[in-house]
């Protein structure tokens, strides 16, 4: 009996009533993988969004509404992401959710957003998120297949027929692998080697030796740091002279740092414009926005802005645009869908009922590593 009493006492104390606040201003919820294996995505996303909300509120809010931001850390865990999405909707009563950071978490949260009728703007790249289109789900990063297509267009230009691919075994890599294989087939390329490595592997010599034996015209590597940097160094060590492509997953100076300027020399990859904004033409519509973002981020956090943080920036701009026509979830969703030619970090967004991503091939520039820096590939 004593046990029961203590049991009950514990439970009661656990249910400390959660705060309920008046919902006059606009509440934006955010789910980012701030800690855990995907923190390289979540942290800049959180920083960016917090910075933007602070700025907006200092200027009197968006369209008269003060903005309240509620950010939760999902730790990259799908179960937590679902719980927290429920919390944002039911307890915090947010009108729109930004995130989650990864494709897996987004896929897990989609049923919640659809059921509770709250717009979700994902910061993950997987094509499954918006294809097929879901009524309440949008996303800001360009689809992986856009990046894959960009690489293959470059390979066509250079008359490379036989390709080897080496991809990381996580959500990003497996999506890239799928897109590369499908597109390569369509465009008449031949995949002569298809290798996979683990996210925590520290040496890829074995896979690369196999690739070497297959004699490809070019290698395409799809992963996020640090794997691709190790691959670049391993290729150098093996004395392979095959041209190497990387994905947009490593489009930051950090990659050149990790691989070393020597091993990275000549590597080509598709990248968002943020990486090379200082090399774009002056009349490019995005240049000013990109420079402002990079400088503001450096000032606030002391490090370079990253493409990943840019995904959250895009989401914020989309919401800002949508809020002009009303602030309940239904109105936000409708105006998000009508977004036209919104100049943003990842590109220029034009949404439609059939396209909840709204970016095309122009979201990426092909860039090359030259002497420890990026240069545009013409």
């Amino acid at each position: 009996m004593k046990r029961i009493v203590t049991l009950a006492a514990v439970l009661v104390t656990l249910f400390v009533a959660t705060t309920v606040m008046a919902a006059d201003p606009v509440r934006i919820g955010a789910l980012f993988a701030v800690t855990g294996p995907a923190s390289f995505l979540g942290e800049p996303e959180k920083n960016t969004l917090e910075m933007l909300v602070k700025e907006a509120n200092a200027k009197g809010g968006i369209g008269g509404h003060k903005v309240e931001l509620v950010v939760y850390d999902t730790q990259g865990d799908v179960t937590k992401a679902v719980q927290l999405a429920n919390k944002l909707i039911k307890n915090d009563k947010v009108s729109v959710i930004v995130g989650p950071s990864t494709t897996g978490e987004t896929m897990a949260v989609i049923p919640v957003a659809e059921k509770e009728k709250v717009p979700l703007i994902s910061c993950a790249a997987g094509i499954k998120i918006t294809d097929p289109v879901k009524k309440w789900v949008f996303k800001t990063p360009a689809n992986d297949h856009v990046a894959a297509e960009k690489i293959l267009i470059q390979a066509t230009k250079l008359k490379q027929k036989n390709l080897a691919i080496i991809t990381v075994s996580d959500g990003f890599g497996s999506s890239g692998r799928e897109q590369l294989k499908a597109l390569a087939g369509e465009k008449g390329f031949k995949i002569v080697a298809d290798e996979v490595y683990g996210p925590k592997d520290t040496d890829m010599t074995a896979q690369l030796t196999k690739i070497k034996a297959a004699k490809p015209d070019a290698i395409i590597c799809w992963g996020t740091n640090p794997g691709p940097a190790i691959i670049a160094r391993n290729i150098k060590q093996l004395g392979m002279k095959v041209p190497l492509y990387m994905s947009h997953g490593v489009a930051s100076k950090k990659f050149i740092e990790l691989a070393g300027a020597d091993a990275a020399e000549g590597i080509m990859l598709p990248a968002g414009r943020l990486t090379v904004y200082d090399k774009l033409q002056k009349n490019d519509p995005q240049v000013k926005l990109l420079r402002d973002y990079d400088q503001a981020y450096k000032k606030a956090y002391g490090v370079e802005a990253s493409t990943f943080g840019g995904y959250a920036y895009d989401a914020f701009l989309l919401i800002t645009g949508a809020l002009k026509k009303g602030s309940n979830p239904e109105q936000i969703r409708d105006s998000l869908e009508q977004t036209k030619k919104l100049v943003s970090i990842s590109g220029v967004f034009t949404m439609s009922p059939a396209d909840h991503n709204g970016l095309d091939l122009s979201a990426f520039e092909m860039i090359r590593v030259a002497k420890g820096d990026w240069e545009l590939v013409k």
Partner: protein, 332 residues
């Protein structure tokens, strides 16, 4: 050996029933307190975690055999149920049973060689099994969807009711959990339960007393796998989405933590452990960026000062406090 006469036994039996009835009642009325808030959703996961913790406790707390591969059985249940119902359109209820039986058989088969090992070696073998299964989830992309997960799993239905809301799922999952708790209580208070505890204390002594040690260990390992698999199926149909990251090594360790924090060899302790580890992060969000530090500190604190787990630690804490506060008065 201490002998329980039939009157004591009856009393003990009644005592257990009252406890269980009160516990069930508490669980059944909890949703009223949540008013459809998100805590209801979190409590669904408390239910699933309780199921898993009870399964592991039977093995670890009673039989004294460690398993660091429980997440694999959980994952096998979740993925198999998901794939068979979403890709192949089979009946979810039937599949839950079929999958649980298959996972049980698998555990039975690997149990014979694995459970010959003891201590660290057993931990390592189960750990290895967990990692192998995790790698299969990740790499069998055509089947499991790979690292980006598997979606489109249907909700369970019975008659005209579809379990598609938190409220319905709460009762579904807690229904299964309560039945499992009842069966487990029955099991541990039976001849088998006494056999398991004998194995825990000394395998040689147990064998001398006529317990088929080898078979019993494998049986309890298989039972624990079956319960975990059912928990996995329920998880898949509730979430409608599964991803390999939920079934990795970390989760196996979390389950062991739940059982130890709650109290080894106590079924209700498993509930306390599962509830604590599932709810604590939610309440620690108030600490914002420092929540992980506080979380770690609390866990260390609890293992240091409540080595018997919450189920024994809390009552003794209360007793100590009472003795200290009311000490003078009761002496007089």
């Amino acid at each position: 050996m201490h002998r329980i006469d039939s009157r004591d036994k009856k009393k003990l039996f009644r005592h257990e029933w009252v406890k269980f009835a009160l516990f069930s009642l508490l669980i059944m009325i909890l949703p009223v307190l949540f008013e459809g808030g998100y805590l209801l959703n979190v409590f669904i996961f408390v239910g699933i975690h309780t199921l898993l913790a009870v399964a592991l406790n039977l093995l670890l707390g009673y039989a004294g055999q460690i398993s660091l591969g429980q997440a694999a059985f959980f994952g096998l249940g979740a993925f198999a149920s998901g794939i068979l119902t979403a890709t192949y359109g089979q009946n979810p209820w039937l599949m839950m049973v079929v999958v649980a039986a298959a996972v049980g058989l698998l555990a039975f088969a690997i149990g014979f060689p694995i459970l010959k090992l003891k201590g660290h070696y057993l931990a390592m073998a189960t750990l290895g099994f967990g990692i192998i299964v995790y790698i299969i989830f990740n790499e069998a992309v055509e089947l499991t969807g790979g690292p980006s997960g598997f979606s489109g799993i249907p909700n369970l239905t019975v008659g005209g009711i579809t379990f598609d809301s938190d409220f319905k799922n709460y009762y579904l999952i807690w229904g299964v959990t309560l039945v499992t708790i009842l069966l487990s209580l029955n099991l541990v208070n039976s001849r088998i339960g006494r056999g398991l505890r004998a194995i825990h204390d000394s395998e040689v002594a147990a064998r001398v007393m006529g317990v088929n040690v080898r078979l019993m260990k494998v049986q309890i390992f298989a039972l624990s796998a079956v319960i975990s698999s059912v928990a996995g199926s329920l998880y898949a149909h509730t979430m409608t989405f599964v991803s390999p990251t939920s079934f990795g090594f970390n989760f196996s360790v979390e389950l062991v933590t739940m059982v130890i924090i709650g109290g080894l060899g106590s079924i209700y302790g498993s509930f306390l452990g599962a509830a604590l580890l599932t709810l604590l992060p939610e309440f620690l969000r108030a600490f914002q960026d420092y929540d992980i530090v506080v979380y770690g500190f609390l866990l260390v604190f609890m293992t240091m000062f409540m080595p018997g787990g919450l189920v024994r630690g809390i009552p003794s804490l209360v007793q100590n406090l009472r003795a200290r506060i009311g000490g003078g008065a009761s002496d007089a």
